[in-house]
Symmetry: C2
């Protein structure tokens, strides 16, 4: 569908340009791009392949197709599955931390996201399919776990399945099974026990194996951007690699700030009311600006692939237009550094323009109401910058063999600098700056490229990029979007080091009305029903009596309502002034009182408690590690108050000098 | 030192055979093994290089050197650092789970383990250096963290440093930085927050970078066993790969059972009293049996390297003695399958004998009082088995091109089967069977070999091997040794699914004397001192009074003793019948009573509590995730009992139908 924007295959319209020319027998190796079966729109419609009018016609068709695909996508999302937009990773992180967003992983989301993902990628917008594929995989995981009661009834087990699904999603998206497991561990999952590691590993194995069987790239390889470089890297090259890391970190910061500012504007102004129009406008701008530049016209993954590649002898790309030494006859593998030709200089200009365009347009694209991933655009930005730096270093080394930095490793006629490697390092740095991944980033990069030798440059760039980006703000793009949307997400990465105590955070605070509690054997059914009606708490602590306030358990609101309703319908003698009791034995009642109602069944006898003197550092730790939603506060057995997850989040925001009310939970 | 067993370099005795011949100018490529500067012992001592007497002399010298090295090693360990023996990984796991073994990570251990590791590896014993290097790295980590008060005073922080050190250790041992991080995560560390992941990653990066700068293998590569295969693998080959997985699982089970039985015998019988003699005997047997077989005589890592290698055109190894088709002139890279020659058949026999020898001797070697790792011997066993299977499949495919399984992918004259790949897969399977690693195993294997293409075969073998081994017993070798030594280690991998409650596990049990508690303001100094003298508990719960038993806090034994001692020495008026109080305000006392002693400072006001109705599943989870050592049990604020980590471990053993007393904590 991406190629439909440029032309059509006469033998079968669903063939891509490359597939179309495979089947054509008349094609020779040299002009594999030109085969009679593939016709540009201008050739098909007005029988012209060259000239200004043909160019304009092709340009228009390109824009038209892009608009068509984008319009279809955004309409489908709006009408059928509003949750199918975005990358989905912030929401999945939140879901895995214990929050429930109904329908987010539903069947409609699965279906619509799959279809629209194809449309938006084909429309040529500056977005990738990798993040959304994680969401799609989690929808599948959710669907399968709903088939087995072991998983559908236990939220914890279901989350383990989702963690494994996220791993499988990345495994398929990049052909990187181990990177997928690590991505799930580092970026997506909240609580990742070893058991889940091992299961995710298995899921990723099966995913990779299935992918290998389908063989989508037609080369028996799992990896998306396979590269083979012929020279090792040199110590002195670490300097430009670290520079690329700095660039990645700065780009990450810039992107996150601008994108969040734009998304906030979308949320708070009228802009948010016209999502379809927004998509149409951005698509039009993208298509209009992208077509004239060969580096933005093609699909982004093709671009990355070309940027990563080393210039072999058979490479016909403009980027490999070096001036060959006619006296040199060497084996094809080992081409020495050469001076750049005209093509390379042209390519540098075009790349620079493409880089600026990508940086700007990605900021506006990510966050629109269509499925959109960030991996590919970030990598493209990094790869373009990296390739340019690489060519620069290469030319510097060629023309200045005598400089001290080059003298040791770059003799004349040697192949010392591989610009493709710089592109790879740059891609890793930019991806790291945006997402703040470290280990999973390096693993994905070398699974993606097969470049195991270059682990130290990749690690150095990833570390630098994370440091630089962290210096300007701790949040990666996913955390920033979680914040923006106000999801109750307790980040495991932040350290809480303030010296506040549970008593400072718990409610009720000084002067507030006391906590709504149930007593174990002195409230009537009507009392409880009134309490339920007047409050909207999720549950109520149960104490021995209002005087002693000794805590005996916790009753969920939902279960209380259900139990009372059932009792009123089915149990005889239960009236409004029946006493409700949570003890084993019924309380002693006056002779003429109505039949009491036993509710011990709905009482959670092991609510989580801390004392009022517990440091908040410990409380935060307990909330994180045990995934609690609330926790009761006691002093020597007496109930003092309650701390909910939202209280903890508000307190953390307050301590970080943020406005606690900015964390609105919607 | 390994090569000293066979001969000596005349130009410099500390050169290895290979280094010696590098410096010799007279060597041509073909007989790089024969250079005049390198002399076998027989050549040097009696000027004979061939013949029976020369053979016997070399044989004797080989045994003598082996015995010398081993004797030196075991003596050093016995005299200076008894903790330097073994691989150290079980102990480090236990330390990271919160148990303290004093001196285990001390400076002497570091020094002696480093020196003796060199000696034992040179002695030719069936052991590897990789596990012990993790211990050495942790000793370094411990040493550095003792220099900074932030780390030396906080056990949690120190453990994070140790986790990172373990990652760096594996990173250096294998040249596998990411594998190191994952090994630390999967095998060594107990609690591994994301922060530690990122720091371990940095430690591993620096370790890999340093290793790269030193360039120990002289090939600018980080990896130990670099291989390059020229053919992809085929779907049908999954069957032998899975068979190798089964073999790995069986070997893992066999090894763990036999080794544990032998170690138990060593612990319980007289055998354990003569560690030096044991080492001498095992070394003698190893040297005597190893010398005649070329595959056991050389160092194990060289053997693995040869087994992993594909047979190129220049390969002079016996394993590559195929019958060449004289009509075939092909580029060196792409040698088709050929019939095996005499050398291959000889090699098969020798490999089979070496395999049996390695299997037997490793069982007796691991656990002796010398530093000994398991990675390399396990990999050697797997690589030998794998190579034999690989050659078998290769010959089968060559001679039976027409069989259905081969017909699709193995035409005559094609290079379809790579026996080296089978060796790699076998090595992964055996390592997996012994250690039960999954993700880290695959990552280490492909970092070790650069074989990214073969991730699916490696994963398939690792998964099969783990399944088969788990079917016979859930414990890996490290857990088995933890159990054998009775360390209090609460495994995070086991699931606890029984329906017992905290009340079933807590002490005191029914009929036992009540818990030793302190009251908040009614016990005298003497009462407390008596209590401390009569019991050996680590601490005491503090309650309001013996009647109400409402819990207010927990006091550590150590701090109590110290506080009372200080008060008696420095505070005036503190006598044996002074009242001790933990409240804010002193209790009201009769007029003539001595000055009371305020001890609120030593009171932990936020002890961890659960109710008696809490399911043990939750309690075990809390102990694991929060790393608790004890937990108090209450019911509506009244103290009922206490659960310690040992109680939890005993209960888990009981539930798993093991004798709880078998878990002796020594």
């Amino acid at each position: 569908m991406t190629d439909l924007k440029e032309g059509v295959c006469l033998s079968a319209f669903w063939y891509s340009h490359e597939q179309c020319c495979w089947t054509s027998n008349e094609t020779t190796f040299e002009d594999r791009d030109k085969c009679p079966l593939w016709q540009k729109w201008s050739e098909l419609l007005v029988n012209q392949s060259e000239g200004a009018s043909a160019y304009i016609l092709n340009y228009l068709m390109y824009i038209l197709w892009a608009l068509l695909f984008a319009f279809l996508a955004v309409s489908l999302v709006r009408v059928f599955a509003p949750y199918a937009c975005g990358s989905g990773i912030p929401e999945i992180k939140t879901i895995l931390s214990g929050f429930i967003i109904r329908g987010y992983l539903g069947k409609w989301t699965l279906l619509i996201k799959t279809v629209t993902l194809v449309l938006v990628v084909s429309s040529g917008l500056s977005l990738g399919k990798e993040g959304p594929l994680v969401h799609v995989a989690c929808c599948c995981g959710n669907f399968f776990s709903s088939l087995f009661s072991k998983y559908s009834k236990n939220e914890g087990k279901r989350r383990e399945v989702l963690s494994a699904a996220a791993a499988a999603g990345v495994s398929v998206a990049f052909g990187a099974p181990i990177g997928g497991v690590l991505f799930s561990l580092e970026e997506v999952s909240y609580y990742f026990p070893l058991k889940t590691l091992w299961r995710s590993f298995f899921a990723a194995l099966v995913a990779a194996f299935t992918l290998r069987s389908i063989n989508p790239f037609g080369n028996s390889r799992l990896v998306l951007f396979y590269v083979e470089y012929h020279t090792p890297w040199y110590m002195a090259e670490l300097f430009p690699f670290i520079l690329l890391g700095v660039f990645g970190g700065l780009w990450g910061t810039l992107f996150i700030r601008c994108n969040i500012a734009w998304c906030r504007r979308r949320k708070t102004t009228k802009l948010g009311k016209y999502p379809v129009l927004e998509v149409i406008v951005v698509t039009a701008i993208t298509a209009i600006s992208a077509y004239p530049n060969p580096y933005t016209r093609r699909s982004t993954s093709e671009l990355i692939s070309e940027l990563f590649n080393d210039c072999g002898a058979l490479e016909s790309s403009q980027l490999c237009d070096y001036i060959n030494d006619p006296n040199m006859t060497r084996p094809v593998d080992d081409i020495p550094d050469r001076p750049a030709g005209v093509g390379v200089y042209t390519a540098m200009w075009q790349l620079a323009l493409a880089l600026i365009f990508k940086i700007v347009i990605t900021i506006f694209t990510f966050g629109m109401k269509i499925p959109s991933g960030l991996f590919i655009p970030s990598m493209a930005v990094g790869a373009m910058a990296g390739r340019m730096v690489g060519i620069g270093v290469e030319q510097l080394a060629y023309h200045h063999h005598d400089w001290i930095v080059f003298r040791n490793w770059c003799r004349p006629g040697a192949d010392c600098v591989t610009p493709g490697l710089y592109a790879m390092v740059g891609a890793a740095a930019c991806l790291g700056g945006v997402t703040r991944m470290t280990v999973s980033l390096v693993v994905i990069m070398f699974e993606l490229t097969g470049g195991l030798e270059y682990i130290v440059p990749l690690m150095a760039a990833a570390v630098t990029s994370k440091w630089v980006a962290d210096a300007f703000g701790k949040e990666g793009i996913y955390e920033a979007h979680i914040h923006l949307n106000g999801y109750p997400f307790l980040d495991v990465k932040d350290e809480f080091t303030h010296r506040t105590l549970a008593t400072d955070v718990m409610r009720p605070r000084r002067g507030e009305p006391p906590l709504s509690v149930l007593t174990q054997d002195s409230m009537t059914v009507e009392d409880v029903e009134t309490l339920i009606k007047e409050t909207d708490y999720n549950g109520f602590p149960v104490v021995v009596s209002r005087d002693s306030e000794r805590l005996i358990g916790f009753a969920q609101r939902r279960e209380l309502i259900l139990a009372i309703k059932n009792a009123r319908q089915r149990q005889e003698g239960i009236v409004s002034n029946s006493i409700m009791y949570f003890t084993e034995e019924p309380p002693e009642l006056p002779a003429n009182s109505p039949h009491p109602l036993k509710l011990r069944r709905v009482l959670n006898l092991s609510p989580f408690t801390v004392t009022d003197h517990t440091p908040m550092e410990t409380v935060v730790d307990i909330f994180r590690k045990l995934g609690l939603r609330q926790c009761l506060v006691t002093r020597s057995g007496r109930l003092l108050g309650i701390i909910t997850k939202k209280d903890v989040l508000r307190h953390m925001a307050q301590m970080a000098n943020q406005d606690p009310e900015s964390i609105m939970f919607n």
